[in-house]
């Protein structure tokens, strides 16, 4: 580890802190309807869709609207991918996307996952990228933010189970937040050397005389929403390790900020909505402590490197002329600190874009992204998804704290009773059930083992990572697993759908139930949710829930691999 590396992590932290309040204030105005500089466009969209934006929807109607919108847009994408060979903007004349990959891709982008079992530059036309994937990058992010705001409303007000209007939340999130931010960021990317064109691919002759095809495309515009919407799907297979997607250290730094920007701001927005700003900052602090723990561990593990290299006389010490540590699968221009930081940020959030290959990390370094996802991606998290995931853990924490002191649990003046806790438990249990059941199935079925390229604990980690990344709606790949089979494409597609919607339904139900309750004034028995004690208890609950559920899998995968590496064995 170097002072320079730590300085970059510190600068990133300060920048994130500085941007939290401005972003939060802006989003308050967007979602309370007072932001109106695009009002004519907004009204036009409502008129075209026949939407009554003033209608306050019951949680069941809000959830049904979200589900139907997602179903319709997913089916449209499936059809468009299957017909891409007859649709325009296909200069490389790519054939139709095969059925299993079209299903997986449609499900993956609808759910904000962006798991990709294809290489974009050799599979998808510009039309498919621009009209389908980019659309979902905006819509799925806006839908996630809408769900978070709906939950915040359920906690903040008494409204007979009504949570707002899904359609206006979707439109406002897209129009006022995602589109303007993406426009500005895309211009910065172009200025920094990212490309934005509709040209056919370019054939060049290299200095060695070989012929090389350089893929082109509308990259910068998709790059912006890829990070801002925590989508993560790369235009190219190499994702943010590709020079056209992430050309400079400045774009790398900006991408890291873009990933956390909205999620960090939403903690402030939430604090304002519930009229307890200190609680919003307590959530921010909880997320930051967990983020710092993750990045410190990953940076330490990668900077320490592989002891077998040192044992064989290789110089692995950082110096002015080399990074030292483990540089396998990392871009030299980003080095170890920025690779560890990027891997931590992208899996704290549900982004999934990568600037290094996680499969090449040391066992402990690779375990950090895995744990980040398995804790529920609530460390700032996906846009909207991070906040609502954290709030579900807060409800669980308040419930446990209430049991410990023998009082009826209460959160921000609302009693947390059995029906809310039932919904929280449904939310909490679906996630590990999908991960562990599908991983277990795949390590015993021939179809699952067929795609595995590494043996031993590393192979188990590869399967576990894939079945974590998909229901967590992260989309980053550990690699080493050939996922282009009917077995994996189909299971990954359904895993993304279950991980998104089977968790959002009970969450919105809990929001609706809370919205039916009256808000009682705080009393001496109210558990404080603004103190360091609350932060510690919340972190403990998150870690205990995650650790109890996944520790056996970690011990059979990355932990045993780490111990075997110490004794000189690699996989």
């Amino acid at each position: 580890m170097t002072a320079n590396g730590w300085a970059q992590i510190a600068v990133y932290s300060v920048a994130l802190l500085a941007l939290t309040k401005p972003m939060g204030v802006y989003m308050v105005k967007v979602y309370d309807g007072s932001m109106g500089w695009l009002r004519p466009v907004e009204r036009l969209l409502y008129r075209m869709g026949g939407i009554d934006a003033e209608q306050d929807q019951h949680w069941t109607a809000y959830t049904a609207a979200m589900l139907l919108f997602s179903a319709a847009s997913m089916l449209l994408t499936y059809v468009a991918l299957r017909l891409q060979h007859v649709l325009p903007f296909n200069p490389q004349q790519f054939p139709a996307v095969v059925d299993r990959q079209a299903f997986e891709t449609a499900a993956s982008f609808t759910t904000n996952t962006d798991w990709q079992s294809y290489a974009g530059e050799s599979t998808l036309s510009y039309f498919s990228q621009m009209s389908q994937l980019a659309f979902h990058n905006f819509a799925s992010a806006a839908a996630g933010m809408a769900v978070a705001v709906a939950l915040a409303r359920g906690i903040a007000r008494r409204s007979a189970g009504r949570l707002g209007n899904f359609w206006s939340d979707l439109v406002r999130g897209t129009l006022y937040i995602l589109l303007p931010l993406s426009f500005v960021v895309a211009l910065v990317h172009v200025q920094q050397g990212g490309i934005q064109n509709l040209m056919p691919y370019v054939d060049v002759h290299t200095l060695e005389g070989a012929r090389q095809t350089i893929a082109m495309g509308p990259v910068a515009s998709q790059e912006a929403i890829k990070e801002i919407g925590t989508n993560g799907g790369g235009f190219f297979n190499a994702n943010s390790a590709h020079g056209f997607e992430n050309p400079t250290p400045l774009t790398n730094f900006l991408q890291l900020l873009e990933i956390f920007l909205i999620s960090a701001g939403l903690t402030w927005t939430f604090g304002h909505m519930v009229k307890k700003q200190a609680h919003g900052w307590a959530l921010w602090a909880t997320m930051y402590v967990m983020f710092l723990t993750g990045v410190t561990t990953a940076y330490w593990a990668e900077a320490r490197g592989n002891p077998i290299h040192a044992a064989r006389g290789i110089d692995v010490v950082a110096s002015a002329t080399q990074s030292g540590g483990n540089m396998e699968g990392k871009e030299v221009r980003f080095g170890i600190a920025n690779s560890a930081l990027y891997a931590t940020v992208t899996t704290d959030a549900s982004c999934g874009c990568v600037n290094s290959m996680h499969d090449s990390f040391t066992p402990i370094g690779g375990m950090v992204p895995l744990i980040n996802m398995q804790l529920g991606e609530l460390i700032f998290g996906g846009v909207g998804a991070g906040l609502y995931g954290m709030l579900m853990m807060v409800l669980l924490t308040v419930f446990i704290a209430g049991l410990m002191v023998g009082r009826t649990p209460e959160y921000l003046g609302k009693k947390v009773e059995s029906r809310e806790v039932r919904m929280v438990m449904l939310y909490v249990l679906v996630f590990p059930l999908v991960i562990l059941a599908l991983t277990g199935l795949s390590v015993v079925l021939p179809a699952g083992l067929k795609g595995l390229n590494n043996a031993g604990p590393h192979g188990l980690t590869e399967i576990l990572y894939a079945f974590t990344s998909t229901p967590a709606n992260n989309g980053s790949a550990f690699a080493g697993l050939t996922g282009t089979t009917y077995y994996y494409n189909t299971l990954f597609g359904f895993a993304t759908l279950i991980g998104r919607f089977a968790m959002q339904v009970p969450l919105l139900a809990a929001a609706g139930f809370l919205a039916e309750k009256r808000i009682a004034p705080e009393s001496a028995g109210t558990f404080p949710v603004t103190t360091p004690l609350f932060v510690v208890l919340l972190i403990s609950v998150i870690v205990i829930v995650g650790a109890l559920t996944f520790f056996p899998a970690w011990s059979l995968g990355p932990i045993v691999e780490h111990l075997l590496m110490q004794s000189g064995r690699l996989f």
Binding site: A71, D99, S418, M423, L497, A502, V505
Partner: protein
């Protein structure tokens, strides 16, 4: 053939999610009435 299976599978999944909404609403009402305590 596979196209039909994937499209039907998608529709069935979202149909199940809509049923899940009703089930969650029902669970909430049961709990509200204290029926979960009925042996």
């Amino acid at each position: 053939m596979m196209d039909v299976l994937y499209l039907v599978g998608t529709l069935v999944f979202f149909g199940l999610m809509l049923a899940y909404v009703r089930a969650c609403e029902g669970l909430g009402h049961d709990a509200d009435r204290g029926e979960e305590r009925t042996p």
